[in-house]
């Protein structure tokens, strides 16, 4: 029952982000909606695993989270440079773009 309640909220959020992705006036709106949709999908898979009594779904959720992040970064890189092979170091050598592990040693 509690999983069904969580699932309802997650599904509603998925619908809303999908609407934003379809409406989004700029391409960045769509990418933002895509990224958020991925995060909510991870949650949906995790909740679905509990709802159906099969926690093995969490492995899929973990994998989906990884792929979602990599995919978002790849799309943004393609948008910014038009080429996935560019190192991107020359133009912003001093930014903390790759600081995803901030705080991790």
């Amino acid at each position: 029952m509690m999983f069904a309640a969580a699932m309802a909220g997650v599904l509603a959020a998925m619908t809303l982000t999908l609407v934003r992705g379809l409406l989004g006036p700029t391409v960045f709106d769509r990418v933002l909606a895509l990224n958020t949709f991925g995060t909510v999908t991870v949650l949906a898979i995790a909740v679905l695993g509990f709802l159906m009594g099969r926690p093995q779904f969490l492995d899929i959720a973990l994998l989906y989270a990884l792929i979602n992040f990599v995919g978002t970064i790849a799309i943004l890189k393609y948008l910014q440079y038009g080429d996935l092979g560019v190192s991107g170091r020359k133009s912003d050598a001093d930014n903390a773009d790759t600081g995803g592990d901030g705080g991790r040693p």
Binding site: D59, D94, N95, A96, T98, G99, G100, G102, G103, P105
Partner: protein, 165 residues
């Protein structure tokens, strides 16, 4: 040496993830970890750099504090999302970042982004450009409490000056 460490870490992670301990399955795990290490060596992915920022015992404490902050600003932003009368008043400003190392500044920028209501737009060595949803959120950042806490986690010792990613 690094390769052995990488192998052991990968294999420990594999065991944790799989939850199966039959000989055949573990054999598959051994083989796949070996293949991963081989590919990492071929592609020069192995990181030989020394760590410049060790785990400080105060870091988990900072994370706990950060979780509290995240929850608080979540409530605020969620209210502004839903309530019909709530107003947003976005603004952009530059906040000073007083950390010594690049890792410190990156942690600060990530913490700002992680807190809903503020997003870091650009970072420089000692300055971060921030987009805030409300003046209230901007005031929280400019008050410098988060900045000071990260500086304290980073430690007063300036000996590790080879730091930075």
């Amino acid at each position: 040496m690094r390769l052995v460490g990488l192998y052991l870490a990968l294999f420990a992670f594999w065991l944790l993830m799989s939850g199966h301990y039959e000989p055949l399955i573990v054999g598959f795990g051994v083989a796949s970890c070996a293949a991963t290490v081989y590919i990492a060596r071929r592609k020069d992915f192995v990181d030989y750099a020394t760590l410049s920022w060790y785990v400080k015992p105060t870091l988990p404490l900072y994370w706990l504090w950060l979780l509290g902050q995240i929850l608080k600003s979540n409530l605020d932003v969620a209210k502004r999302c839903v309530l019909p009368g709530a107003r947003i008043d976005p603004c952009i400003f530059r906040a000073p970042a007083n950390q010594d190392t690049g890792v410190g500044v990156a942690t600060y920028a990530n913490s700002i982004t992680l807190t809903p209501g503020t997003v870091s737009l650009q970072t420089w060595d000692h300055e971060i450009r921030v987009h805030a949803l409300t003046r209230h959120g901007a005031r929280d950042i400019l008050g410098g409490e988060m900045d000071g806490r990260i500086c304290r986690v980073e430690g007063p010792s300036k000996t590790g000056n080879g730091g930075g990613p």
